[in-house]
């Protein structure tokens, strides 16, 4: 709704095309080649679960998609438009941080460790993006934030600071904070990995209800049951490449790749 608007949308893009697509994505840290040519698409309203062993590059992929780090090579397109770079005759040039900030508004990110702002109440955490990025007036932002907190079941905690909330509540506030910006796609980086087991359920419930409401979501997770129940498609990441992509039933019951079978035997 608030994204670029029709004038910036290339005519070649239609709602059936991927909202977010990634081609030939590469990323290295020092001598470690973390992403080795990742190809990834997600369509409007789709939920994709990304599984894989630690260090396989799945979190790095999310950070690149969220424009928090530059890719070494490859391209990321949001609604058909290339993001993160300015295309010049000589090739693609990374955008300066201030320009990247504008493009990040359309991509929401939920972190493993919540990263709520400890000096702000739950409500103010959710409001900050609205007031300081979108320039929405305080009162209007407060109303939107309260509505979003209600959606994650935390309107009664609006005036509490993060240190006064449980991990599960903090992560739900973090989801509200990302959601209130009305992003085209919401990225989850192991959203339940830092939580006590008894708090995982409330976060997954919120995520499932978002999925049911048609939110486009990429979820890096170790929650196999969530992936099976909620995702439209499950992806296995290993050593910086995507090994297998299939519907949950296919992925779990009839995996095509030896690597997938081996991974599933460890997590089941």
């Amino acid at each position: 709704m608030t994204h670029s608007g029709p004038e910036l949308m290339p005519e070649t893009w239609s709602t059936n095309d991927p909202v977010l697509s990634v081609r030939n994505l590469h990323k290295s840290y020092q001598d470690q080649h973390v992403l080795r040519g990742v190809e990834f698409d997600i369509r409007q309203g789709q939920v994709k679960a990304v599984l894989g062993p630690s260090g396989s590059g799945k979190s790095t992929m999310l950070r690149l998609m969220a424009l928090l780090e530059p890719a070494d090579d490859g391209e990321i397109r949001l609604r058909g438009r290339r993001i993160g770079v300015r295309e010049k005759a000589s090739g693609a040039v990374a955008l300066p941080e201030r320009e990247l900030a504008k493009e990040r508004r359309n991509i929401g990110m939920v972190f493993q460790k919540f990263n709520l702002f400890p000096h702000l109440t739950a409500c103010r955490n959710v409001m900050l993006g609205l007031t300081s990025v979108k320039g929405i007036h305080h009162k209007e932002a407060e109303e939107q934030a309260m509505a979003m907190l209600q959606r994650v079941g935390l309107s009664h905690r609006a005036g509490h600071f993060p240190s006064e909330l449980s991990g599960g509540q903090q992560q739900r506030v973090a989801i509200a904070r990302a959601l209130v910006m009305n992003p085209d796609v919401l990225l989850f980086d192991e959203p339940t990995s830092a939580l006590d087991p008894e708090l995982v359920g409330e976060v997954l419930d919120v995520m499932e209800s978002l999925a049911n409401d048609g939110m486009t979501m990429i979820v890096v997770t170790h929650e196999v049951r969530f992936a099976r129940r909620v995702a439209d498609e499950v992806t296995l990441f290993d050593s910086g490449v995507i090994v297998e992509q299939a519907t949950p039933d296919e992925f779990f019951d009839n995996p095509q790749h030896q690597r997938t079978r081996k991974f599933l035997s460890h997590v089941h």
């Binding site: 900030a101 460790k113 600071f161």
Partner: protein, 244 residues
């Protein structure tokens, strides 16, 4: 010679002590403000990715941590007016020279306090701000700085108190601050104990008030909803909401 309580009390209520105390505090406040402004810039330089900024900031800290504040005051008051005629005009008073000199020196120390406060903030904070689409300036002002201030407050309080006492150095450039006031009295009457005791009382009062101010400000940076029970609206829990 015995301690004459009458002289002591007389000096306590002597207006020149009060104005001396006021000058001391005023020099400390203004030099702290100047030091914080310069110190913030130096801290940004030291944490910057630019080699040049790092170098300039590093040299500043190195230089002004090494040079005694007294020498800096003497240079500003005596040497600089020789070099720059504009400083020979009337506006350039001992007061201005004192707060600029102390501020410049103090900035080197404030830079280190601010730098370590900035570094103490978890990387995930700036990351979350950037992910929301906040510009680098907004991330600094709305996310990092409010948290860094809390970390920087206690050591800054120390520096503030130190500055009140350092302001006595300005006696060498003939600023009539608190200690100079006592010294002038001593030179006339030779009643050392009474005049110095009055100065002690004033310093104790000043530092006690500053300590109270510091703990008041620090309480403002405790992030719990309970301590803010008087604040209305969203800082208060707003009753039972609907659970999904």
């Amino acid at each position: 010679m015995e301690f004459d309580v009458n002289i002591f009390v007389q000096q306590l209520v002597n207006p020149s002590y009060l104005s001396g105390a006021f000058l001391s505090v005023a020099v400390a406040v203004l030099s702290l403000i100047l030091a914080t402004a310069i110190g913030f810039a130096v801290a940004l330089g030291r944490t910057s990715r630019s080699r040049i900024a790092q170098g300039v900031a590093g040299i500043y800290t190195w230089f002004f941590r090494a040079i005694p504040a007294l020498l800096v005051l003497l240079i500003i008051w005596n040497a600089l007016p020789q070099l720059f005629p504009v400083l020979r005009q009337d506006w350039f008073s001992p007061f201005i020279a004192a707060f600029i000199g102390l501020g410049i020196v103090e900035a080197a120390f404030m830079a280190e306090i601010i730098r370590s406060a900035l570094l103490s903030i978890d990387d995930g904070q700036a990351l979350a701000g950037r992910a929301l689409g906040m510009s680098p300036v907004k991330v600094m002002l709305k996310v990092v700085l409010p948290q860094a201030i809390r970390t920087a407050l206690p050591p800054t309080g120390n520096e503030f108190i130190g500055l009140v006492k350092f302001s006595s150095l300005a006696s060498v450039i003939s600023l009539q601050e608190l200690l100079t006031t006592a010294q002038v009295g001593v030179n006339i009457t030779f009643r050392y104990a009474e005049y110095y005791a009055a100065a002690i009382v004033y310093y104790l009062i000043i530092v006690s008030l500053l300590t109270l101010l510091q703990s008041y400000v620090e309480k403002k940076f405790v992030w719990t909803s309970r301590s803010k029970s008087k604040k209305p609206s969203i800082l208060e829990p707003v009753g039972q909401g609907v659970q999904s």
